[in-house]
Symmetry: C2
Subunit: 197 residues, 2 copies
DNA sequence: AAATTTTCTCTAACACAGTTAGCATAATTG
DNA sequence: CAATTATGCTAACTGTGTTAGAGAAAATTT
């Protein structure tokens, strides 16, 4: 993913090379260390070339963020198709969220402007994020048919609980053991889902 | 807090001037806009002077962060002294946390490396943060005398729930109405406290 | 009072950041 | 072959954190 040959490369190829390099640097050195010049060096181009693919660093980060939300959305839809029991669905969705944040922390960080990642473009306006929200709201609605406002409140609660634990576990990863955090997360999310009926 | 006269100023005076200016800029333009030169301009000094008071920007941010945790700790202690009922205590502490994040979002952001604020120094090692944790753990212990591990787990849960809602409400402040978020927060925290007994 | 030292503050510079303008070369088209 | 388009570069601008070293002013000593 790092040292890409320069010779045979189409436009889409270069674009994904930029994204991949940005993610690789962020994973290795943190988002603060991600610079246009460093990306350009890695893909063996000069800095201005990057601007042929992304209008600004902000737009690049936004693209990576949207990619993250789209990936998450796909995973959620997979879960929805896999299980029929609404409770099982929501619980498994919760686990997917945890695993995603564990396996690709740099993506999770840019999605929520965490730990030095900073994208000016408001995340609320992202269609991908809306789509994720819709899937979860539908799942909640599927076993608790309530008013739109009530569903929104429950979704907000679920989201906050999950995101709170994930971002806190990231913050304390040196002090608190991952296994324990994960156990608490599982228990809490299971309890949350149970509490819905 | 912005245009400070230069004439009569002691060392402590200048130090707090730097901190105050940094906070003011962060509040007005976000943490990403906080630069050493801008701070120096505001206090009518040249940039290197700032380094006489703080070894680096990182240290400056860490100081502001610790200040935030110390302030929060004081508020928590005030609540503990004010109420005898443990449930009331924890609930009021939760509300203090919300109000703090509402009234001084820039401080809350630097405390958790949110929204462009980025301090390299690990927050876990902060004594002030530990002190805050101790107070909350004690409060939880005061009406649920369990093992250290259980208390730690409950504290983690409480913290995650509170922090999750606060940071999410910050993220969605344009979409979701503050009043509704606050209502959900109050309900959730009350339910959490109730659920402890 | 003169000389010396210490204190205070500044300018200049370095490497790096995001970003843009303009030029050179290569590929394609007529 | 000539003209045009595409491609990628260098150089530059402003702004960032940070450091070195110069210079003035104040305090101290002789």
């Amino acid at each position: 993913m790092e040292t890409i040959e320069r010779k045979p490369r189409s436009r889409e190829n270069a674009r994904s090379g930029i994204i991949g390099t940005a993610k690789a640097i962020a994973r290795r050195e943190g988002w603060q260390a991600v610079s246009i010049r460093k990306i350009a060096d890695a893909i063996e181009y000069s800095a201005p070339i990057v601007y042929e693919y992304f209008d600004s660093k902000d737009v690049l980060l936004d693209e990576i963020r949207s990619e993250g939300f789209r990936h998450l959305h796909q995973e959620y839809e997979r879960i929805v198709k896999l299980y029929r029991d609404p409770e099982k669905r929501l619980y498994e969705i919760s686990l997917v969220q945890w695993d995603f944040a564990r396996q690709q922390p740099e993506i999770y960080q840019v999605m929520y402007n965490l730990n030095g990642a900073y994208c000016t473009i408001p995340v609320c306006e992202s269609d991908a994020m809306q789509a994720v929200g819709d899937t979860v709201r539908q799942t909640i609605f599927s076993f608790i048919p309530k008013s739109k406002e009530s569903i929104q409140k429950l979704y907000f609660e679920w989201w906050a609980t999950s995101h709170g634990m994930i971002s806190l576990a990231m913050l304390l990863k040196d002090e608190q053991h991952v296994e324990q955090s994960e156990q608490v997360y599982r228990d809490t999310m299971r309890r949350f889902v149970r509490g819905l009926r």
